[in-house]
């Protein structure tokens, strides 16, 4: 494209980013509001953060959510990487079309339907709903995201390196571990991160698959938000936005550095 950055471009970017960020900025500012009235500024205070960390219901829910997210994103990273490897390197096998259909369908399936169908399954096989059922549900949909991310990396990765390792006497497993895995590791890690945030964020599927003793943070937030805006939720939201922002910025800096180092290594390898 020809790049002539005009006044129109500047205006649309300014307005666009204002639209994207103002609601969150307002939320963050008002989490430090001393007044209980949500829209009236009553001076700066960290009172709601204090009340938040004493609220055991929220702390319990946060702990459940964290455990579910850690478990399900780890399972999803393993299963999703396997699925991606099967899709890209697996060759032909019986039911390949069905397999790739089942990888892509959960990405477009409305959450209410995924949740409903899993709940009906758990009831049909008599599985008690709790943390484990949420983990199963989250693993299932997030492994599909992981496999999309990982397979896009696998497609661009030079297959001859794996073949060279096999020719030099590696078993297929060794070749995968020492050649393929280090190369796709950044994609696996970003897939894991994606699965982790998807799990942290999910309300609908968790509502269907959670039991009475396994309330996750989004379920807790949703039930209290239905009653209206509360300063405690503003504080909680601010904490969550802060954690995610720091996480994403750090992750992108780290991956930028990793890519730069890889390019440098490749250049040096070419020179020698």
């Amino acid at each position: 494209m020809n790049r002539r950055f005009s006044l129109f471009n500047a205006t649309s970017l300014t307005l666009g980013f204002a639209f994207l960020y103002l609601p969150m900025v307002i939320l963050i500012i008002f989490s430090f509001n001393a007044s209980k009235l949500v829209a009236v500024w009553g001076g700066f205070s960290t009172r709601w953060y204090g009340e938040l960390i004493q609220n055991e219901a929220f702390l319990d829910a946060a702990w459940v959510t964290l455990r579910v997210a850690l478990l399900s994103s780890t399972f999803a990273a393993v299963l999703g990487t396997m699925a991606a490897y099967v899709m890209v390197r697996g060759g032909r096998f019986f039911g390949r079309t069905l397999f790739s259909g089942m990888i892509y369908a959960p990405l477009v399936m409305p959450e209410v339907i995924t949740g409903l169908s899993l709940l009906l399954l758990f009831i049909a096989i008599g599985l008690d709903r709790g943390i484990m059922t949420i983990v199963l549900a989250h693993t299932t949909f997030s492994m599909c995201y992981v496999s999309v991310v990982v397979s896009s990396r696998l497609v661009t990765f030079d297959r001859s390196l794996e073949e060279a390792a096999l020719d030099l006497g590696c078993t297929p497993f060794d070749a995968f571990r020492s050649v393929t895995l280090p190369n796709i590791a950044p994609a696996v890690i970003s897939g894991w991160l994606l699965a982790f945030t998807l799990s942290l964020d999910d309300l609908v599927i968790a509502s269907f698959t959670a039991g009475p003793s396994s309330t996750t943070l989004p379920i807790k937030i949703f039930s209290s938000v239905r009653l209206g805006v509360s300063p405690e939720i503003n504080a909680l939201s601010t904490l969550m936005i802060g954690v995610v922002t720091i996480g994403v910025v750090v992750a992108s800096l780290v991956s930028k550095r990793a890519i730069a180092r890889q390019q440098k290594d490749e250049q040096e390898a070419r020179r020698t």
């Binding site: 494209m1 020809n2 790049r3 002539r4 950055f5 129109f8 471009n9 500047a10 649309s12 970017l13 666009g16 980013f17 639209f19 994207l20 960020y21 609601p23 969150m24 307002i26 008002f30 829209a39 299963l79 396997m82 099967v86 697996g90 397999f99 089942m102 369908a105 477009v108 409305p110 959450e111 209410v112 339907i113 409903l116 169908s117 899993l118 009906l120 399954l121 049909a124 199963l136 693993t139 299932t140 492994m143 297929p172 945030t197 942290l200 964020d201 309300l203 609908v204 509502s207 989004p218 937030i221 239905r226 209206g228 805006v229 503003n234 939201s237 969550m240 936005i241 922002t245 992108s252």
Partner: protein, 297 residues
Amino acid sequence: MNLRRFILIAIPYVWLLALFLVPFGIVLKIALSDYALSIPPYTPTLDFSAGWEGIRAFFAALDLENFIFLTEDDLYWRAYLSSLQIALLATFVTLLVGFPIAYGIAQASPAWRPTLLMLVILPFWTSFLIRVYAWIGILSNEGFLNQALMSIGIISEPLTILNTNWAVYIGIVYTYLPFMVLPIYAALDRLDGSLIEAAEDLGCSRFSAFWLVTFPLSRQGVIAGCLLVFIPALGEFVIPSLLGGSKTLMIGKVLFEEFFANRDWPVASAVAVILVLLLIIPIIFFQRNEQRQREQD
């Protein structure tokens, strides 16, 4: 070695069969069952334990009773239609808001582009629920928008936006904007700038060069973006239930309430089956569009 390959394929395969395909089969089955006052609240129409007899009885008793009920009950018709309408209109507005942003990023200097893209993606990583929640405080009667408008003197009475369809539109546009911006940006980025220069050399104004060259060539990005917004918006639950009012009918919300409040599982399952059928058409469109794009590259 072949055993290893078999295991590698089998593990994710069986997982998806058991936790994606089988559950969906159960939804289909219950959609064809009859409602019963018990737990679980349906009489299973298919009884595998009875062997062939059971399967024969299943096909004999197979009825579309729940689907017929859906066509007769006004609520579901209106919910499907209003979901379609809300999703379509919201997608169009998202396009109007998202295209200038994508265009602006594509026109910016290469040094700035990664940062601008990062700024578009970052909200996508923060909690969906919180981003929807943020609008409650803005749109309510004593919220920031009304306060701001009244202090400028544009309005004298607060506007009622929260708990109406307007709030649902705003919520969808806001939360799905990154999905629109990213594919359009990708299409604009691929575009050959010399084509636009050629159009201008041949006497096009900047505006008509945009309209005759840039926009048609970014068509696939626009289609991809629209479908990426439309598909999830159609089955949306969180936005209509937090920002919409009691009059806002969206099928995701009806399904959720049907299931948890009325506990009529067969009807809820039938609603789910029809929603999936509705989604198949845009999904096929999307895949065709992606495939065409790959072939062009």
